[in-house]
Symmetry: none
Subunit: 416 residues, 2 copies
């Protein structure tokens, strides 16, 4: 499998204001085409840093792909440095001079002298067309190493990489450029170290696959990559191992690859023609927002009441004032009345109620920050779960919303 | 000025699925504290890559800050490698063992054996507390070089970096660590190129400051950095220039630095003892979620109805079926009835109604995707704005919620 190293240049990427999205895009496309990114460097428009990054890249990988630094100004340095480390000499390419002159003529301007720099290339390089800006890219292959230079602006970089650079790269890598077989198994319930223990036997002997665990927003993702001799055998190894993993983890597994908890619940509701309505307190609209992030959610989402005050609980959900007085707004009883209230008022199949203390204030000895009650009402029953989450206001709210979706998921599944 | 090198570890950061937001956050905080980031490396959970990145970091900078790889599993390697390159030896720290045992006990679980690894540190290191997870961080200073290890999950990394690591770092850097005088002026309304034109005179002659414009979620941030000879003169230059910028941009400026649109509106409501309630359709709970992101929002937020169906609009907001039939669910008239409906039903000072087409489906010739009506009802009036947003479902929803907040902000301010 060929290895790639990505270099993103631009001082703005080091100031904490601009995100380096280029390398993420490039990584994804490389991965899909069976080229593995071993590391990335993000450096300023600084000669020494760029040189170091290119050298480290050529040491660690077969292909170095950089973006940025192809403009006409003094701090645009990548092409010069790339040619230096690759031992190549640039000369003026007349065809590119004409292209630049045209570019400016179409905008009714004369080409500034300084742009001539953008028409300099080593004769052995492939020049990558840029229809959206003045900076052409460069593909230079020499002594078993490849350097690809792309412009910095994403709207110029993306089409150039996809249409101009990637085809040449894939052609040159030839049969070596094999698509990796990868699957992500998504788990909710057990934490990372629990999943690690549950899978210890498989992790010790992954049968031709590599495994990685990743904890994210309360979920654990098990990433499995198969590296079989060929396409077909990779697929077989991957299918076998992911079946074994899924059986070890049971109903903690909620989905695969592109699935999200929301999309999985959405599909379950749609397949069965069911609708849900939500009554949210501490999550303050987060659960509804997550459900409606998906286009088409109006098919199964009736709507919600964000009952952030006691009056709202009473007015819109029929929560009894006596219940709130006796047990408190954060109580199993209130959660139950919220879930049943929204279900009764709206006539949908499932009503969810969430009430809790997201913090950082408002906790007490008996009802600490992180205490959340989640209720689910359907035609036969109303179940209430008491949860104790840890992790700051945002974390507690996120875990509450996700747990509510997971309770709904398990409830629908248990009914077959 | 001290130099820093950031290392983000995690194989998921190389696959094109996960964005490295940690290094962006760390860069910003370092910059604010006068420490310059010279480069970043993003590497997989791979021993050799991590070692190379640490070594390059120590060669190029005074401080190396890494995130990720502090978990209990086999592919968590950063601490071991950091100690190796810094020539330090780890031993088991009993206090940390107890902290870990407590962490699991509070979750009614026994600590797995593999977590013991997280209690190993060199005696000369400062252990950085992690209240939100099992992985403590580490601050190790030796032979004029500093390595700081932080956990990967942003919600654990951020508080640890701000509260535990940065104070030690600033203390150790001493007077060298000069705070750059920086102010961010936040604008909503005019776009980036409009702001650029409005400030052209200042941009051409920024009087000892540097200016950068950054477009973000529909806002434009003007970042002003003063580099005067000393603290006092920097402050003077900065104050003068930001006053000039603010006067050029008028009421488009909604806040400064840590202000967010939500926090600014929250303060306006609180100062005046006013309350708001919200009726959301296309935003699906996003506006409520944004308002309740702030702790203490129950002081001014009554709650919301997410009227994702026509029945919800009718049942909870008194929107007339005839209105929906005649003008459609996405119409100025429906938005008005939503805002007035929620205000009348709840008795709060301000009622907001949002209805629109977030897409990607559901648009038509006359009502295209991006068409959004936002209504604001108060005691004297109900204003409705018709907006035509561009930018995908998430973007349209985000812009709708922000515009609603901005309409409320301007309305409150216009009343003095």
């Amino acid at each position: 499998m060929k290895k790639a190293y990505i270099v993103s240049t631009g001082t703005e990427l080091l100031l904490g204001t601009t995100m380096d999205t280029n390398s993420v895009f490039i990584s994804e496309k490389l991965f899909e085409n069976g080229i593995r990114v071993v590391a990335k460097s993000i450096v300023g428009d600084n000669e020494e840093s760029i040189r170091r990054a290119f050298k480290l890249g050529l040491e660690s990988a077969d292909v170095v792909i950089s973006s940025g630094g192809l403009g006409p100004t003094l701090d645009d340095l990548t092409k010069t440095i790339a040619c230096e480390v690759m031992n190549a000499t640039m000369e003026l390419v007349q065809e590119e001079v004409h292209r630049l002159e045209d570019f400016f003529a179409r905008r009714k301007r004369k080409m500034p002298e300084i742009n001539l720099k953008q028409a300099m290339f080593p004769p052995e390089a492939v020049i990558l067309r840029n229809d959206l800006g003045t900076a052409p890219g460069m593909y230079l292959s020499k002594n078993d190493k490849i350097i690809i230079l792309l412009p910095g602006p994403p709207r110029e970089m993306k089409p150039m990489f996809i249409n101009e650079a990637l085809p040449v790269l894939i052609k040159e890598c030839g049969s070596e450029c094999r698509r990796a077989h990868m699957r992500t198994i998504k788990v909710l319930g057990p934490g990372e170290s629990q999943v690690d223990e549950m899978l210890s036997e498989i992790i010790d002997d992954p049968k031709g696959c590599s495994l990685a665990l990743l904890a994210k927003d309360g979920e654990v993702h098990v990433k499995v990559t198969a590296e079989g001799a060929d396409e077909a055998s990779s697929q077989v190894i991957l299918d076998e191992l992911s079946a074994r993993i899924t059986s070890k983890l049971g109903d903690g597994v909620f989905g695969y690859d592109e699935d999200t908890l929301v999309s999985v619940v959405a599909n379950l509701l749609m397949e069965r023609g069911k609708k849900v309505a939500v009554a949210e307190s501490c999550t303050g609209g987060l659960l509804s927002k997550m459900i409606t992030d998906l286009a088409g959610s109006s098919h199964y989402f009736w709507g919600a009441v964000i009952s952030y005050s006691n009056e709202a609980k009473n007015l819109y959900l029929n929560v009894q004032n006596a219940t709130i007085e006796k047990f408190g707004a954060v109580s199993s009883e209130t959660a139950r009345e919220m879930a049943m209230g929204i279900r009764n008022r709206t006539g949908v199949d499932y009503g969810i109620g969430i009430t809790g203390i997201a913090g950082p204030e408002g906790g007490s000895e008996t009802k600490p920050v992180g205490l959340v009650y989640i209720a689910l009402a359907d035609a036969t029953d109303c179940i209430v779960k008491e949860m104790r989450f840890v992790g700051g206001r945002d974390g507690i709210r996120m875990l509450s919303a996700r747990t509510a979706l997971d309770i709904l998921r398990r409830r629908i599944l248990s009914k077959g």
